[in-house]
Symmetry: C2
Subunit: 199 residues, 2 copies
DNA sequence: GACTAACCGGAACCTCGTCCCATTTACTAT
DNA sequence: ATAGTAAATGGGACGAGGTTCCGGTTAGTC
């Protein structure tokens, strides 16, 4: 008669599953807070042990909650990514031209990437280990980008020579290394890229 | 060959210093050959031990000849980079319009980068360790790029809204991850970027 | 042929990612 | 309240890779 509440054998803590026990939930939050802090100072590739130390847990606990580094990064930035996804339609509604909305939205995304040390690099990495991260960003933002592109295309403001995911990948790529002191602002480059969409 | 051994730093074993003893010269060449082969199969971040094994030397020998990985990469690709640098003026002379020359030259550079696994990533890395590599590529190619940009600008074919080094960095960034199976061809993106230079 | 200094290469050390396992702890039924 | 149980924990072990040290080896010279 032991309770069979959730006898899910496999770990259900994938990306979204909140742990059931209170201590696990607490630890999960502590890890998220610590990771967010460490990412700011040491970048998204900071050693796991550093995050564990700051969270006051062992390294295994981090791996239990977030099997890969990509899962941890997704969890830390999920809210921000979601808010950018929602900002797309809002900009489309509030801006004069769809092309301007696209430009403003891309600017938001660039601002996001340049403040996250190493995030852009990791987003373009061909390391299989980061596929979940890659996938989440694309799955969440590509539809929005496609919507903006489509709106600008029907208005004749741009020629649709690029797929939405290509544009996102390009913008992400241009933001790599933007936090170097010697590496300048990626915004001029992004501006040229967006200008290249015009007919 | 190289006569510009002028004002590098005190460390003159850095890029070009040929060893004096015959065995050292032989080992240096063996390392270069092995590295070139390994870079093709395992990318420019292949383990040092792998290169050493293929060259039939110890790891310390590699570090003695090429203190950093950047030095090794520069030595392996120096000839190709130099040939691309020389291709710039040639294209300018043989092509109808400077803008077309610029486009053809950029295409050459993209072809070079996409065939070198991980080279583009390393070129944009903010790891201090790769600064010599970064520096060599920029120092060699930026002037050529500037020449092409300038020629196209005086012809009124483009607006000079971008510095040469910015353009090179942008093209390099767009080529990151181009060797992934899922990551597509960077050429459409580069084409849009170049199109964005037009007035 | 002997001497010297440059050179060599394997081994050792360090960092980091990853996983195992003995121990602890939160929840539930009695 | 309490005992039982499964979930959760964290320290440490293991492996991969970068970097350096050190005793042995060898090319070039007298």
């Amino acid at each position: 008669m032991t309770t069979d509440m959730g006898n899910v054998t496999s770990n259900d803590r994938g990306s979204e599953g909140e742990p059931k026990r209170a201590d696990a939930r607490r630890n999960r939050q502590a890890i998220l807070d610590a990771a967010a802090a460490v990412f700011v100072t040491s970048g998204v590739n900071a050693p796991i042990r550093e995050i564990a130390a700051k969270a006051g847990t062992g390294t295994a606990t981090i791996y239990r909650h977030f099997p890969t580094r990509a899962d941890l990064i997704v969890a830390v930035y999920r809210h921000q990514v979601d808010s950018y996804a929602e900002a797309g339609p809002a900009l489309l509604a509030s801006t004069a031209s769809p092309y301007e909305a696209l430009r403003a939205w891309i600017d938001l995304f660039v601002d996001f990437l340049v403040t996250k040390h190493g995030l852009a690099s990791v987003l373009q990495s061909d390391d299989q280990r980061f596929d979940p991260l890659h996938e989440y960003f694309l799955e969440r933002l590509v539809p929005v980008c496609g919507q903006l592109l489509e709106a600008a295309a029907v208005g004749g403001e741009i020629r649709c020579t690029l797929e939405p995911h290509e544009l996102m990948r390009g913008v992400g790529s241009l933001c790599i290394g933007a936090d170097r002191t010697s590496g300048g602002d990626p915004r001029p480059l992004v501006a040229v890229l967006i200008a290249g969409l015009r007919p």
